[in-house]
Symmetry: C2
Subunit: 340 residues, 2 copies
DNA sequence: CGGGTTATTCAAAGCGATTTCAAATTTTGA
DNA sequence: TCAAAATTTGAAATCGCTTTGAATAACCCG
């Protein structure tokens, strides 16, 4: 069923039918109703490719992922949020996976040249992200999830990682802890650097010296966290508190604590960063987990919204959002027991 | 940079340039090289929309997800696999999320009418899946991840859920367990029904009566599993073994076991189904987890491949794959201790 | 040397929508 | 009543590619 067929069926021109369906004012109200009704009855939908070619808009946004490492639980939650927002606008999300940084760069060039998408969501930025520079050069609109230090105006949404970790660290210090482990993300990633800044700021505000041995940088998996935590728990004096970068990390640390014969919330405290996974609830853990919380799904939704604003012409320089992070105290964090 | 520009730049017709780039035989080898070299140098890429309109192929496959519940860790792993395979063919994956079954059905109609995709991946089927019937009616090629009992030929790939659970159950029975809990997926879903069949078959083969109180049907989240397991551990006599439907479920059961003051692998055994998440390794758990294992990422990859075969003309009736599931025994499952 | 292949190139007609520009009809107002 | 304005419709151009059918150039062989 093409527009042409529909038009013939109605005894009208393609022009009029097209206008009627797209809400142009210069079409008789009775005609419009007749067209709309018939189109609905016959299940007509414009051919996506033709529409895109004619309008020059692709009606899609792109998301490029380095498959193995990036398409994990964080990304799927984010995607769920973004997709929810875009779905109502009939914009679809094109997911491309690549295996390396070089491939990722190539993918952006390909996407730009072939005009596959109207905009891109850039994520997991480094402090000076070359991909952002490149997308600017390619003149393809994008919203960054996170932040990067480049001079040109970039639309972004980020959470206050520095503030979150600073507060969590300060809280642990208030409870008497002095040997606090920070299990952070990979070096170079903006969010990890920001968290480190918060951690160091809290320590220095209390005059507690920084011990590099108490800091780990790694991906957020149960397994790596377990190994790191295990090693750290063997140190003497032993660390008494952990800041876990994600809930996956928290699971690994938890395991290490238990294996060391210690009890979480009593012998060792932990505050984890919670991106809010529906299938892994901090409140229902045993003991329940203290967290710095910020819904990554919400962020995805909002970024969808920002993309729409960007496409509607809002300048990137006006699109900056820094979200606060809540500190939710539960059973896993408690006062330091007698220091021995 | 359009084809026309490139052609003018080369002093050739669009026809010749197009043919040269698409590998048609009737173009002089020297010309082809010149075209290819220039196109690469200028970074020419055909406009995706134009190409799609001209060829009638959209170069995309669709995946419709009921957002909140379905876009979880399983789906993202699956997506990673599929996307990896499709990426090398320059076919992109369009992810659409919907909020309800009705919306899902509407989404398929929309997608079909607008010819947005060349094929669809259908997942999480029920025993008699109406969506499959509908996609057949709409004449849109699709591969089913899982199985459904409809008469017409449907391309599918599934794992042997029945066999997996039957073996796991039999193994636990061999170890002396008699009160074995099955934490299964939602009623009606094919995989859950298949698992139940395997469970019942194993029980009946040993003449062990089936106790409905030992079976739970729910989504696979840590939280729900915790509650179910907690309730079941209060039964007397207490169940001595659990079959957990997923790793998330296993985490919840684990928590309930610990909270009840019991020890996994000694007081209570567990075998979990492992879809192989890179961030949650059964081998590295403590104690390590016995599993029925099948990589959902591999399945995604393979389904990508099957889609390509389907698009190449292979009849759906010839596309059926049933994958065996390994039983990997580790520390979480052990012999029944003295029955008291 | 000339007719018949073969190899190579091109002009133009699609693909299915939107949109410009013009035409036909109706309404308005003096 | 009639010219001007407003309303409503339509023919044809356009988006950037592929592909058909035709044309030209080069080659072959008796």
């Amino acid at each position: 069923m093409r527009l042409k067929d529909l038009a013939e069926h109605l005894g009208l021109s393609q022009t009029t039918v097209s206008r009627a369906l797209n809400g142009y004012p210069e079409v008789n109200e009775a005609t419009r109703r007749r067209v709309a009704e018939t189109a609905a009855r016959l299940g007509y939908r414009p051919n996506a490719s033709a529409l895109r070619l004619a309008t020059g808009r692709s009606g899609a946004v792109g998301l490029v992922l380095r498959g193995a490492e990036e398409l994990g639980p964080h990304m799927s939650e984010f995607l769920a949020g973004m997709s929810g927002r875009m779905g109502t606008e009939e914009i679809d999300i094109i997911v491309t996976t690549v295996d390396s940084y070089a491939e990722e760069v190539a993918a952006y060039r390909r996407i730009a040249a072939s005009q596959k998408v109207d905009a891109i969501v850039l994520h997991s930025p480094t402090l000076r992200d070359e991909r952002a520079e490149m997308l600017l050069d390619l003149k393809i609109p994008f919203v960054l999830h996170g932040r990067t230090n480049i001079d040109k105006p970039v639309a972004w949404l980020d959470i206050d990682n520095t503030g979150a970790v600073e507060r969590a660290t300060s809280h642990l210090l208030d409870l008497g802890h002095r040997r606090i482990v920070l299990l952070n993300g990979l070096k170079g990633r903006t969010f990890a650097e920001h968290r480190e800044i918060g951690y160091l700021a809290a320590l220095s505000a209390r005059g507690v010296p920084f011990d590099p041995a108490l800091m780990g940088n790694s991906v957020f998996t149960d397994e790596v966290a377990f190994r790191l935590a295990q090693a750290m728990l063997e140190m003497r004096p032993r660390p008494t508190a952990f800041l876990a970068g994600s809930m996956m990390t928290a699971l690994g640390v938890f395991r290490a604590i238990r294996q060391a014969g210690l009890e979480l919330g009593r012998d060792v405290s932990m505050i984890a960063h919670d991106d809010v996974f529906p299938y892994l609830n901090a409140d229902n853990m045993y003991p329940s987990m203290s967290t710095t919380r910020s819904s990554i799904r919400q962020a995805g939704m909002r970024i969808g919204e920002l993309i729409l604003q960007l496409l509607a012409g809002k300048p990137p320089a006006d699109i900056h959002e820094l979200w606060p992070v809540e500190l939710v105290l539960r059973e896993s964090s408690g006062p330091l027991l007698d220091t021995r």
